[in-house]
């Protein structure tokens, strides 16, 4: 039979509140960072903060961290892989066109 971890029952409230504070801090950080002139790096900073926040939500609130189901990890990785195909190949096309 499948050997399951104790799932989320052991997740402490402390973790939830810490993630919540980090997410609120990240929101404030994005808002303030957008006001700085970082040249072409503004977009990169915004996306790095957004991805960090998304990871925090996925790992701790959606419990990917600690998930014992291997199929779940396969689904998550294939989703990201498919999204990467969509984004990278599309941008490789539009980014190298002489017109537009």
């Amino acid at each position: 039979m499948s050997a399951h971890s104790d799932h989320s029952k052991s997740s402490s409230l402390t973790t939830y509140f810490a993630v919540w504070i980090a997410l609120l801090g990240g929101t404030l950080l994005t808002y303030e960072a957008a006001k700085l002139d970082l040249g072409r790096y503004n977009a990169a900073v915004a996306l790095i903060i957004a991805t960090t926040k998304a990871l925090l939500v996925a790992l701790f609130f959606m419990h990917i961290k600690g998930a014992s189901e291997k199929l779940l990890k396969l689904v998550v990785f294939s989703t990201l892989f498919m999204l990467a195909i969509l984004m990278v190949l599309s941008m490789a096309d539009y980014g190298t066109r002489l017109w537009s």
């Binding site: 499948s2 994005t30 939500v57 779940l72 689904v75 989703t79």
Partner: protein
Amino acid sequence: MAAHAPGHNPALLHHFATEDQQRDSASLGMWIFLATEVMFFGGLFCAYLIYRRAYFSDFAAASTSINAALGGTNTAVLICSSLTVVLAIWAAQTSRRGLMLFMLALTMLFGLAFLGIKGVEYNDKFVEHHVPGASFSFEHQPIPGHPDQYANPRHAEIFFALYFIMTGLHALHMVVGLGIFAWLFWAAWKGRFTPEYHTPLEIGGLYWHFVDIIWIYLFPLLYLIDRHQ
């Protein structure tokens, strides 16, 4: 598999061997649905990237016209709602019925607050004639950092079309989420959820968190283009 022993969890359906298997199957199904949702929104994000690259300064001018403080407040509201969702599940796991009901109600309240703030924001855009269509107008709007240059209204209209489609689709997901949580609240009220069985709460929570993640990307991409001028 033998028939269920007397006293088995009534929530365990007969085609599952164990409660863990049942919960993992439900969770996996939800994750596969979320994978299709990622591709659904992914197409829009891709369209956004292509046009933002092509018409960056027009996008910046259009983005600056949106109220970023309202968008930031909405981000905080959604983050708080995600916290109340995990607290509701924690309450279910530890048999705190009152807390679970309170957190579910709070989640819906945050969801409604989000839609209300969104409504204020949309109203501004209608008043300013920034809604794509026959009455769209974005004449003589300076490009951030270049006060002597005006944004091309046709290109700004593409930004606003993407803005309304992406935030509108997200808001539609919020409405569906509110429906799901209204049902969860009703089921929790009826005493359906126990520390052993509260899978619907976890599945509904996955959906709610996913909608939160979409907003975490929408906020900087739509509201915060070139704000430093």
